[in-house]
């Protein structure tokens, strides 16, 4: 990217006796996320007894440990070793992932109805969340900010908060990232499948509930399916995985409704393509790599 970001030394912290938390940087960057990806992927392959779960996060990661089987101090030693050997991705590292088309109806009636009920908790009660985001990010129109969000793909940098919620960071240089604050006070309601935005992260809310992210639109397809009735959920109740590349694509009401009926009759499948890219190449020339990723997706 325009300016290479140097990460500070990783910080290792014990989250009580059952968790190790590793902060790669206080600021979000693709570099920090790729560094976490490198270590957590290597740790997963080692399949160490006593490692209960490995949780990559945006600019950090967390490992859940069973201290009766593995001393957290030994785990930290191993993580430090991994940091020094694989902690920065080698220039020729190839990330194998999948690219997924995720349709979104921006300015939909359902989130609009909800956001109107919570204007008193918003920075700008006179505008919609999208109008506010367009203005503070220097766009002339809502269409401008929608175009920016849909033109380049996003990478899933963390899953969590609630089951299946993907935090997505756009694969563009920092100066092109869209940023919005969270609501002044969190809402008590967010419709299921809301396309939300907070900080520099885009999310799709898996279930209805409280939330603080700005609401921009609605996805017709679920990211979470307890009944596992859709084919994409045959193996898992949540769809997105960390490191997945998602392309948010703006759709109209006709496509939204058509997709909804395919979800409801159980025939919906996400458009998914296997893909690979070099994080180093992405950092050097994001537009070129993004073009290739989208070409693979829609070929």
């Amino acid at each position: 990217m325009t300016e290479k970001i140097q990460l500070p030394p990783a910080r290792y912290e014990y989250g009580g006796d059952e968790f190790v938390f590793v902060e790669l940087d206080q600021a979000m960057s693709l570099e920090a996320n790729f560094a976490g990806m490198a270590v957590t992927n290597a740790l997963r392959e080692e399949a160490i007894d006593g490692v209960v779960d490995i949780c990559p996060s945006n600019a950090s990661y967390m490992v859940q440990v069973d201290p009766d089987r593995l001393d957290p101090r030994e785990l930290v030693e191993e993580l430090r070793r991994l940091e020094s050997t694989v902690g920065t991705l080698p220039e020729d590292y190839v990330l194998k992932t999948r690219v997924v088309d995720v349709p979104v109806l921006f300015n939909d009636p359902w989130t609009h109805e909800t956001l109107m009920r919570f204007r008193d908790r918003h920075q700008d009660p006179e505008a919609t969340d999208l109008e506010y985001a367009a203005r503070i990010n220097g766009f002339d129109s809502v269409q401008g900010v929608v175009d920016a969000m849909t033109s380049a793909p996003w990478i899933v940098t963390m899953l969590g908060f609630v089951p299946g919620l993907p935090f997505c960071y756009q694969l563009v240089p920092r100066e092109r990232q869209i940023q919005v604050p969270k609501y002044v006070r969190p809402r008590t309601d967010t419709p299921e499948r809301t396309f939300g935005f907070g900080g520099a992260f885009a999310v799709v809310y898996p279930v209805r509930g409280a939330g603080g992210y700005q609401m921009f639109g609605m996805a017709p397809a679920p990211v979470f399916d307890l009944s596992q009735s859709l084919p994409d959920f045959a193996d898992d109740i949540s769809f997105p995985n960390a490191n997945d590349v998602l392309r948010y694509r703006a759709i109209d009401m006709a496509e939204f409704e058509a997709t909804r009926s395919r979800v409801e009759d159980g025939t919906f499948r996400y458009r998914i393509r296997e893909a690979e890219f070099e994080p180093a190449a992405l950092l050097a020339d994001p537009d070129a790599v993004n073009r290739e990723l989208l070409e693979v997706l829609y070929r």
């Binding site: 912290e13 014990y14 989250g15 009580g16 006796d17 059952e18 968790f19 938390f21 902060e23 940087d25 206080q26 600021a27 979000m28 960057s29 209960v52 779960d53 490995i54 949780c55 990559p56 996060s57 945006n58 600019a59 950090s60 990661y61 967390m62 859940q64 201290p67 009766d68 001393d71 957290p72 101090r73 963390m158 899953l159 969590g160 908060f161 609630v162 089951p163 299946g164 919620l165 935090f167 960071y169 920092r174 990232q177 940023q179 604050p181 969270k182 907070g198 900080g199 520099a200 992260f201 898996p206 279930v207 509930g209 979470f224 307890l226 898992d236 949540s238 960390a242």
Partner: protein
Amino acid sequence: MNELLVRSGGLYTTVQDTGRFGYYHMGMPPSGAMDVYSAVVANMLVGNPDDAGVLEGTYVGPRLEFTDDRMVAVTGADVPVTVNGESVEPWTAMRVGAGDVLEFAMIRSGCRVYVAVSGGIDVPVYLGSRSTYTLTGIGGHQGRKLVDDETLPLGAAGGRARGGAAVPEALRPALDVPAELRTVVGLCSYRLTEGALASFLGTDWKVTKDADRVGYRLRGGSLDFTEREQPFGAGSDPANVVDLGYPVGSIQVPGGDEPIVLLNDAVTGGGYATIGTVISVDRDRIAQTKTGDAVRFTSVDLDTALAARRDRRERIERVRREIAR
């Protein structure tokens, strides 16, 4: 019959075991009994495996009617228990038969009671556990708390338990307040000023009404964050960090004046600075505090946390030997 009749669901009673593991990375918390010691010991008393399904009642326990010969044991909070109106001993294995009704009065101290029945509460295992996670409605009995007049499945009762076996007083948990919560300070504690960290540890915090399986909100002081230019992607509030994973038991202070201890059903991550983590053993302790009770945090290192865990393991094994005698 292998059934248990729920005559009254009580205030908030759920089926729990020792938890659901391996799904934290996708955002699913472990759930499971909040007071692990009491749940495991209850199972031991009735001859169940340690991780069998038990009932966890909150404030007001359930009223249960048995349909066949079973062993039953009640542990956890200090509460008068009756069978058919007659007072019975908690922390003790009891024989019951068809038509017997187990009931609770008001809790004297503590917050959560555990009921183990021989054969275990045999709800379907979901993702490796019988624990209830109500937020997404999974596990346990239909993914929710118990309601009046319904039926729970029981496993086939084994014959290993000894009626009258009791846990000695010394091996029952202390329920006195203020509850001392040993805490490994760290994570993003650099966000607090030195004075704020000292004040966090020096304050007796009160448990507010917002205290449940998701987390405990506390009141009693106000903590300052160090001033900084917020890092990229963190959000504008001084309590905000770039969204990260939250350990179970971790403590955050969103507005500076209301610490939240995240517990078994909590969100797995988010954008608030965490300042430390209550050690796993003392989650049993906070689980037995209720609205209005005082808690205080004591800073300990990892060695102390691991020693406390070994100590709890030894106490559990001592109970096992006592019961087998």
